[in-house]
């Protein structure tokens, strides 16, 4: 089924906000091709059994509620302790909007 090109790998990397070098693209493209070719085997087995329901989780998930009470969480200092940059008790991040926006 697959046959994934260098350009497609570059596109996937962009979608995943993952910088990749030209060298990496050369290595990843054939590797991803082999992996995707191999895992495509899953569609064989279900091809004949369309009515099988999907399982997303081994444990049946239900909402877990608790009383809406104030509890001690991380302090502001703790929350910011690992921040690459902080200012005035807040996370300092690079600009989010482009020039024209």
């Amino acid at each position: 089924m697959p046959n994934i090109s260098r350009d497609e790998v570059a596109h996937l990397a962009k979608l995943a906000r993952l910088g990749v070098t030209d060298e990496e693209l050369d290595t990843f493209a054939p590797q991803l091709d082999v992996i995707l070719e191999s895992v495509a085997k899953v569609s064989e087995v279900v091809g004949t059994q369309q009515d099988v329901p999907p399982t997303s989780h081994a444990v049946e998930l239900t909402n877990v509620f608790r009383e809406d009470e104030v509890r001690q969480g991380l302090t502001q200092e703790q929350a910011l302790s690992g921040a690459p940059a902080a200012e005035d008790g807040r996370f300092r991040v690079p600009r989010i909007l482009g020039e024209e926006q």
Binding site: L18, F28, V39, V42, V46, P84, P94
Partner: protein
């Protein structure tokens, strides 16, 4: 016998009786780490002060006549570097988290502290637990103490190598597709993946949330059971944590040790044999099955046809979940940030930081997951994989109507050489062939040493699987088998 070669159960008894101090036991293991870890790289970080402080508290309590905080109080442990430890570095084997000091403890960490278990340090692992050899650690591979040119398994190779090298009597691992059991098998140690939801995932840095499960690693089945009971149990901080009593695994291990398996029905999975399996592994497995029969077990063959599709399904589901989970490493709130020069946008900084912070396997899996979840491919890949997951769960359910436990080799081969599979991802993935089904179904499974392969003299693991919340069944069988087989680690060469 020297302190470091003793089991956790023996050490606990001697510490609690006042015959040995926890400080001395902890110190002996810290000295062992100083002596041999340069050859192995099993530990990412050693917290000597923290461990000795915890040990001193246990000794003070015992001197004051207080009962021990738990059956393992005073026995030190190595903690996989994927579980958060407040104020102690937690890297997950990634450059992204180099120097990060978590602001909170994982529930597993908290339970260990409350149980009086001194934490010697954090053990090395494949980056974000993705790998089967510990070669994907950004901080260098861990080496197998049986043969330092070989891998110790992965992702939790650090924990298992530490046990086999007598650097720690106990360790914690996490198992998403075999990361506790496969390292256990190739190092001649015991590794347990409890039932999914049996041990809290709070503070376990997520790789694939529907599969990740923390569990005990040890040198004996009883030690693993004692540790299992310390870390298991419901936790309101993890919404997938099961609110049910912990299976009585210590009692089961003690019962099993009497060596009688009369009336226990054991199923041999017929899919896990043949081409691709090392002859020495299959011979060891056959001998283990004969041993179980000799102990009185009723052994039958069980076919689980959908298990042939477990590996491809796993390598779609796990990367899909990982591509979403690892989006949190965005260089904004914590972790590595690269290229923030005032001109670049947040998106550019994110992309540069993730490029520098992640290794090749993590990048591959993020891209596979991104591909599998993209529109147009979703049904054929992720959708089909979820249907395979249903079929696997059904095969297990049908099998457990006929037998109490299932057995197979833990891994198709013994420990391979460092570098042998690192450029061939599919060859690496095959190491998880037999361990993955239990993760997909959420069942319990463990690996117990089944001796050394007759063709290369390296350790082999017997995998024992049990239904959800019937973890005690596999402990009973494992303890009986272990008692009959005898120790394996006494044959390990001196480092």
């Amino acid at each position: 016998m020297s302190v470091i070669k003793q089991t956790a159960a023996e050490l606990a008894a001697r510490i609690h009786s006042g015959e040995l101090s926890s400080v001395d036991v902890t110190q002996a293991h810290l000295e062992r780490i100083s002596k041999v870890d340069e050859q192995l790289n099993a530990f990412r970080h050693v917290d000597a002060d923290g461990a000795l402080e915890a040990a001193a508290k246990v000794d003070a309590d015992i001197a004051a006549g207080k009962p021990p905080a738990s059956p393992l109080a005073g026995v030190p442990l190595g903690l996989k570097d994927v579980l958060t430890t407040q104020g102690v570095p937690t890297t997950c084997g990634s450059k992204t988290l180099e120097g990060w000091l978590p602001p909170y403890d994982a529930t597993v960490t908290r339970r260990l502290r409350e149980a009086g278990v001194p934490i010697l340090g954090k053990t090395n692992m494949d980056e974000f637990a993705m790998g089967s050899s510990t070669e994907n650690s950004a901080y260098g591979p861990t080496r197998n103490p049986w043969d330092t040119s070989r891998i110790p398994g992965g992702s939790g190779g650090g924990s298992s190598a530490a046990l086999a090298a007598f650097e720690a009597p106990l360790a914690i691992g996490t198992d998403t597709g075999g990361s506790i059991r496969q390292p256990g098998a190739v190092t001649g140690t015991v590794g347990v993946k409890p039932t999914y939801g049996g041990v809290s995932r709070y503070g376990l840095v997520a790789f694939s949330s529907s599969l990740d499960q923390a569990g005990p690693c040890a040198r004996t089945v009883l030690d693993a059971a004692l540790l299992h009971e310390v870390i298991a149990g419901h936790d309101p901080l993890d919404s997938t944590s099961i609110d049910a009593p912990v299976p009585p695994v210590v009692e089961a291990a003690k019962q099993g040790a009497n060596g009688d398996l009369t009336g226990v029905k054991v199923g041999v999975v017929t899919q896990f044999t043949g081409e691709g399996y090392q002859r020495g592994v299959l011979d060891s497995f056959q001998a283990a099955v004969e041993q179980l029969r000799a102990l009185g077990a009723d052994v039958v063959e069980i076919s689980c046809p959908s298990f042939d599709y477990a590996l491809p399904a796993y390598y779609l589901i796990a990367p899909s979940e990982c591509s979403s989970n690892l989006a949190r490493f965005d260089a904004m709130r914590y972790g590595l940030r690269i290229g923030d020069d005032g001109d670049r946008s947040a998106e550019e900084v994110m992309s540069l930081s993730r490029e520098a912070g992640f290794g090749p396997e993590v990048k591959r899996r993020i891209m596979i997951g991104t591909y599998a979840l993209s529109s147009g491919y979703y049904d054929a890949y992720y959708g089909s994989a979820q249907q395979v997951r249903t079929l696997i769960t059904r095969d297990f359910a049908a099998a457990y109507e006929q037998v109490d436990v299932l057995v197979s080799p833990t891994t198709p081969t013994t420990a391979f050489r460092i570098g042998e599979r690192v450029d061939d991802p599919m060859a690496m993935y095959l190491a998880d062939l037999c361990t993955i089904p239990a993760n997909l179904a959420g069942n319990a499974a463990m690996s117990v040493p089944s001796g050394l392969a007759d063709d290369d003299g390296l350790p082999v693991g017997l995998q024992i699987m049990a239904p959800t919340l019937a973890d005690d069944r596999m402990y009973r069988v494992a303890a009986a088998y272990e008692a009959a087989r005898g120790p394996v680690l006494d044959q390990i060469p001196e480092l």
